[in-house]
Symmetry: C2
Subunit: 424 residues, 2 copies
């Protein structure tokens, strides 16, 4: 099919992008370093107000939906469904400046660049800013995009409470972001999320761009094993029911299992405690967490099954075990044609890119249930994220935003490039 050429000379304002990232990063500054801007707090309110101002400056019409997602839409020349990008601006505790914020600020930069260029693309281009992506203050994570994807019902989402006793609904009203628009109002034809990698792969391979073709599934468990506490000197090994040793053996086996499943599958035991917790007492109770991630839904389920079989064996051996799932996502595969388009545009822009997986969760995995979706990653120095030391080279931040601009422009001018209308 015929493809009108896109204005290859169009470029985002890199200085403005970096300046805005700094300015946004100052909101919710944490005295211990970094910023702490949990969802729907006063700091989040201040950041949201800044985003709304920038969207307006970029020529976008701003609407707030019922779950607090911000929709900024730059109207196109036709009534084609909009092309959307976006991410989140809530943070973890003592966060870096780029996780989520980069994709939002770069999206605004794309709108402002298109707006300033004078000739609008055929389809509208929208920036979505999702509520409570991190899930630190309110569980589950990815809340705004879950509601858009109808993974969680709006009423249930509004009724969620934080540990401090506030509901989403109350907090949205309090900070002035309880909108009236339906979360399903915007029906994008495509969604592309730009994000920092939060892992070490791109830097290790000296690449600028990752085209994310899938998000690993994850399965998080809190496992409790109860044995019998006993004197460490007088209880022979054969007469022990050592909850600590048993928990460590199981944890090591689950980690080994992930190693054997191979890249990109991972397992992490991030916390473990023993009770009563004395140097000379055999632990009577052990609690640990396991975070298992896998790119195959079958393989993830097999890993979960192995955990449960191991616990059943322990129950039969006289231990008492308990396992609670604290979070779970199945693996998500992004749209292959959209990934191909991103890869092609990256090549046109001279950016060294490869396809890859995301080990972390992102709003785009929810949007994949709404429309063809994919993600762009830029490198994270040493893979550090969720940490004030999170860093991406300014040059790479600008290159990622440039790729986003040209990919969205290509999609907005030629949405049929990627998918025949019948497949939408």
């Amino acid at each position: 099919m015929a493809r009108p050429s896109t204005p290859a000379a169009l470029a985002i304002d890199g200085d403005r992008l970096l300046r805005r990232l700094r300015e946004l990063g100052e909101i919710g500054a944490d005295p211990r370093g970094g910023r702490t801007r949990l969802a729907l707090t006063d700091a989040d309110k201040a950041a949201r107000e800044l985003i709304v101002r920038w969207l307006s400056e970029a020529g976008a019409a701003v609407r707030i939906d019922r779950i607090g997602n911000i929709h900024g839409v730059l109207e196109g020349r036709s009534d084609l469904p909009p092309i959307a990008t976006g991410s989140h601006i809530d943070t973890v505790v003592r966060a870096g400046a780029y996780d989520g914020c980069y994709g939002v600020v770069a999206g605004i930069e794309v709108l402002q660049t298109l707006s300033a260029a004078g000739e609008l693309p055929r389809a509208s281009v929208a920036v979505l800013v999702f509520t409570n992506e991190e899930g630190v203050r309110f569980a589950p994570d990815l809340l705004g995009s879950r509601v858009v994807a109808e993974n969680v019902a709006l009423e249930d989402a509004l009724a969620l409470h934080s540990a401090d006793g506030c509901s989403i609904d109350e907090e949205l009203r309090r900070i002035g972001f309880a909108g009236s628009v339906s979360p399903r109002e915007l029906r994008p034809s495509h969604f592309v999320e730009l994000h920092i990698e939060q892992g070490p792969m791109l830097e290790a391979e000296d690449l600028t761009i990752g085209i994310v073709e899938a998000v690993q599934g994850h399965s998080w468990w809190r496992v409790v094993i109860e044995g019998v506490a006993n004197h460490a000197g007088t209880t022979p090994m054969a007469l022990r029911r050592d909850a600590g040793a048993t928990a460590m053996q199981l944890a090591c086996a689950l980690i080994r299992d992930a190693e054997e499943r191979g890249v990109p599958n991972v397992a992490t035991v991030g916390t473990i405690t023993f009770e009563p917790g004395a140097i000379n007492v055999v632990p009577g109770r052990a609690t640990f967490t396991i975070d298992m991630r896998d790119d195959s839904v079958y393989s993830l389920r097999r890993a979960e099954q192995r955990l449960h079989e191991a616990l059943l064996r322990l129950d039969r051996a006289g231990y008492t075990t308990h396992a609670q799932c604290t979070s779970r996502h199945e693996p998500v595969v992004f749209d292959d044609e959209l990934c191909g388009l991103l890869q092609r545009v990256a090549a046109q822009r001279g950016l060294a890119a490869r396809r890859m997986l995301s080990g972390a969760s992102h709003d785009a995995q929810m949007m994949a249930g709404v429309c063809p979706s994919a993600m762009i990653f830029v490198p994270s120095h040493r893979g550090i994220s969720h940490n004030p030391a999170e860093h991406t080279e300014p040059r790479q931040l600008v290159q990622g935003a440039d790729l986003l601009l040209h990919a969205l422009l290509e999609l907005a001018n030629n949405p049929e490039t990627c998918h025949a209308p019948s497949s939408l």
Copy 2:
């Protein structure tokens, strides 16, 4: 050699023994259950004053030495060196009623029985009550007997400080137990300590008496392993330096090593923590403790060597490791002839006995450096100790004290039964 018969009909007053154990057990009652009577506290002072009163009632001359050990001596008919028994009355937090206290109260019962019988034995019989055996408030443990054995110098012991900032010397003066007698004043020819087993072996084999022929050595370590904290989703297994997984593998290997060394050797990992300690962060730092016990000094040293070799391998693999020894005793072998005498007297009294090891530390292991020493164990229900649920059947408590009486009487009347004077 000729052995004058001992009065086999002589018997301790079982009711008085049990009543005194209850009365002593009420001092320092902990509102959470059990009793907390840490060394040189007001509760310890009250317990010591009660012990001094009972020793006086039993006809003993009471002296306090410079490290606060109580010496209660029932004078014999000759100037032969005294036969000594004894233990401790300080406790751990939320202790049972018998650990240490049983040996002291039974010793007093022996003196009182001998005293009431009219005819005193040839050698004097002494009860020693040692300061700070548990080592909870002041490190190291076994302090009173260490000073007697010159394992720790008196001046160094007096200068030790607790976590709450008090010195042994100040606290001894404050509670009125800074005596003037030298800790070496009493030069016993034999020492026999009666104690609860604190392990499950006697009960499991339906025996009443354990003749303790050795105390296992122990080696306690606090091990720190530093790796690199990273995102649990985005860091491939091969690129991790997971301090937690590495610590658990090492801990499991040390436990397996003890299992392979076989009974009676043990290893316990009683505490472990990961930092930063989040479900979705690869641990950057892991800290665990290991308690290794072995009846062979060579085998214990080999176990320690394996720990250090493993840490060196981790250092070479890019981890940073640190290991600190927090307590260490070499294995102690008790006097074989004295164990033989205890076994013979147990058989005469119709008590089912076996020789065994102690996995826990006791003052007798220090006294073994002063004179031929040994221990008598009575069963601990389910091996529970250092716990308010510590329990020994009253019948067994009386039987153990009866054995102590007749063994001490035999020794006091015939000290040469056990060892020719030249071997003393």
